[in-house]
């Protein structure tokens, strides 16, 4: 295994120092406990929005801290949930008196740690609402699993809720919006290669040269099933069918299409995926009204992609188009 690092144990901290050095105009970094905070936090009268999760998914979440998106992000160790003390610190740092929304991806560790943090923050008199994202259709949602994982929709929810918070919408409304985005969004991913965490130095799973893993998670956990590698058109059809049939997305729907790279996939391939997705959706009478293409929720150096669809309406489209100014997402 080769990695561009100094010390496996210092990767997260050194990356944070890099983020601070590069983006000090937009964010500041607290190191103990580790939190990336919007430079002008807390913004008085605005709902604060925080998220967090294991590191190794960059730019999520630290790259999304800034005007129009997150107020703070809590980076955990690589692929490990952050801890309640980080989340409490972040919550306090961004509370401008209008309460704080926790956007939590549905992983057992993230959910348990955020629950403990919300208890602690409420104990300090801060109004906290938590919304758990669970858009991954690769996981069967049943009583017998931890439920669907939160993946690509999280990025979109952070952007849309961030815009609503900038409009000074109250906490209950921003939380409801977050639940609506999550409810109208679905995702699924696949991998061509596993990833290697700096700590273990080992591939997260074994995959033959001619195999692919469908329904991959973002922590290098194996997916739903393994198959012989197929052309992009077949792969997209499999992912998009599972997604589109699930909500379901129907003829006449307008969607935001998000083609995400897992970290080790060149952009040229993501555009091939987008081409196939566009054709697939046209075939079903679904129109792509907005799109996002690139590496936004990654899994270290894993090669592969995920597709996320969000069913749009006028309000969601307007909030998506609203200005955003973060290290990794910027427009308007």
């Amino acid at each position: 295994m080769k990695k561009l690092i100094n010390d496996p144990g210092a990767v997260v901290k050194e990356a944070l120092e890099g983020i601070e050095a590069a983006h000090g105009d937009r964010v500041r970094v607290i190191y103990d406990p580790a939190v990336v905070v919007r430079a002008d936090a807390p913004v008085q009268g605005k709902v604060g929005i925080i998220s967090g999760g294991g590191s190794g998914h960059e730019p999520m979440h630290g790259g999304f801290v800034g005007v129009g998106m997150l107020d703070a992000a809590c980076p955990g160790e690589v692929f490990t949930s952050p801890t309640p003390d980080q989340m409490l610190e972040a919550t306090k740092a961004v509370d401008g008196g209008a309460g704080v929304l926790h956007i939590v991806k549905n992983y057992t560790g993230d959910v348990l740690n955020f629950e403990m943090a919300a208890d602690l923050a409420k104990g300090e008199g801060i109004d906290v609402e938590a919304v758990v994202t669970n858009d991954d259709v690769a996981v069967q949602d049943s009583l017998y699993t931890a439920g669907r994982r939160g993946v690509g929709i999280t990025v979109i929810a952070e952007k849309i809720c961030g815009a609503a918070a900038e409009e000074r919408k109250p906490l209950a409304e921003v939380a409801e919006l977050c639940r609506r985005v999550n409810g109208q969004g679905r995702s699924m991913g696949m991998a061509l290669t596993p990833c290697v965490t700096p700590g273990s130095g080992q591939p997260s799973f074994e995959l033959g040269d001619d195999e692919m893993e469908i329904g991959i998670g973002i922590h290098g956990e194996p997916g739903r099933y393994r198959e012989k590698l197929a052309p992009a058109a077949d792969i997209v059809e499999r992912l998009a069918t599972a997604i589109a049939d699930d909500l379901p997305y129907e003829s006449g729907d307008r969607v935001l299409a998000f083609v995400n790279g897992m970290g080790g996939t060149p952009l040229i391939e993501l555009y091939v995926v987008y081409r196939e997705l566009d054709r697939f959706l046209q075939g079903r009478g679904i129109s792509i009204e907005r799109r996002l293409i690139g590496d936004y929720i990654t899994s270290l150096e894993m090669a592969g992609c995920s597709i996320t669809l969000l069913k749009l309406d006028d309000e969601l489209t307007r909030l998506w188009d609203a200005p955003v100014d973060t290290p990794a997402l910027r427009w308007g």
């Binding site: 309640p84 965490t197 956990e221």
Partner: protein, 209 residues
């Protein structure tokens, strides 16, 4: 025979060493059905717990256990952080102000801890989690107590039950945590959380027995 505050310190130290010795095994088990970080996370957390204990004076067992719990909550991350953190915090609450524990006192502490883990993680028996080692260990301890066993014997029976419960997770299909995403593919693998829980109770039997 009883458990003193120094014994509790020794137990935590012994568990930290055991975790380091088993780090690679825990990572391997977790790589099979989870995300491969359990050994690394627990080692980091237990090192922090040992360091934290050095700063806590006195012989209040409750204060020691709470300090361990807080260290784990803030240093482990993942699901294991809040779960092991809660285990120790609840054990600490149950033993506040005590400088010595007899078998009944240890049983009450363990029960409080295990109930805390269940409340936080909402796992049932046979979900393939740490509960599958902890609950049998608690039951065996209670049964030994009812049989009139001495502390050492009861702790050994408790650790043996934890080991059995740990091994019994191998054929189970996971219903909690990341392993549950694998569905039937989780069958045939020993649960890493049940493994680290067995190590905890084995260390208790070693140290207190």
């Amino acid at each position: 025979m009883s458990i003193t505050a120094d014994d509790v310190r020794a137990w935590i130290g012994a568990y930290a060493n055991t975790i380091s010795e088993h780090r690679v095994e825990l990572v391997r088990l977790d790589t099979a059905i989870g995300d491969g970080d359990h050994g690394t996370n627990m080692e980091r957390g237990m090192r922090a717990a040992v360091e934290k204990l050095e700063t806590v004076d006195g012989d209040d067992i409750g204060a020691l256990l709470k300090a361990v719990g807080m260290a784990l909550v803030s240093k482990v991350g993942g699901a294991a952080g809040p779960l092991y953190g809660t285990l120790f915090l609840q054990m600490g609450m149950a033993t506040g102000g005590r400088s010595e524990l007899d078998l009944a006192g240890w049983g009450a502490a363990l029960e409080a801890g295990v109930k805390g883990v269940q409340a936080r993680g909402k796992a049932e028996p046979e979900d393939k989690t740490m509960i599958d080692a902890l609950l049998p260990a608690l039951d065996a301890l209670r049964a030994a107590e009812a049989d009139g066993a001495d502390l050492g014997d009861a702790l050994r029976r408790s650790a043996a039950a934890a080991e059995e419960g740990m091994k019994a997770t191998i054929p189970l299909e996971a219903r909690k945590g990341r392993a549950s995403y694998l569905g039937p593919r989780s069958v045939g693998h020993q649960d890493p959380g049940a493994t680290s829980s067995h190590l905890l109770l084995a260390a208790a039997a070693e140290t207190f027995g």
